[in-house]
Symmetry: C2
Subunit: 123 residues, 2 copies
Amino acid sequence: MITYEDFKKVEIRAGKIVSAEKIPETDKLLRLVVDFAEKKELVNEAGEKSLVPSVRQIVSGISAYFPDPAVLVGKICMFVTNLEPRMIKGFESNGMLFALSDENGNFSTLEPNSSIAPGTLAK
Amino acid sequence: MITYEDFKKVEIRAGKIVSAEKIPETDKLLRLVVDFAEKKELVNEAGEKSLVPSVRQIVSGISAYFPDPAVLVGKICMFVTNLEPRMIKGFESNGMLFALSDENGNFSTLEPNSSIAPGTLAK
């Protein structure tokens, strides 16, 4: 059993998959680029700051379920977004796909309906 | 930022909604009965133990999105299943619907595809 505070620590957000490709020389890994409607601050040569759209790279071990990873592009799926970044086979992963799989080889992403904008937090 | 261990403490499972009804004299609350393919041990008068199917009652503040709660019956949605039970307006709730809503009034459940059995853990 956990408390509501334990649950609230975990951020799971809707993200739109911008690109998806197999990582060469791996069996299972896809490299996803995912849009959570985030912005980051950039400083130009004149020292001026501006906010620009920013996407995340997320590595996921789901290649077996997507022989053609291109079918994922444009989908809005759910991702854990506040995990510490980690390196997977030389690729930095800034999040984790949040999905379902069972011992029979069934797999499902979790796709909200079309009213939901990228970046929306599940709760 | 959280660790993977923080994330793993939270159990979010697929559950099939068996019944859904508005709680009288409340604005927002639905009383859901949800099947996670769980069983509980019963002892009969002879002292014999047996495992019988068990469902959970879950109270959720989503009545505004479902004027006719019957549309929820039969759907498989996602629920946080290891929160401590709590009492809401006199009804015990043994879990929490895990869904999305935003400040514009948009709402979405998260429904896995049909290959996923009730009780399956998201990860």
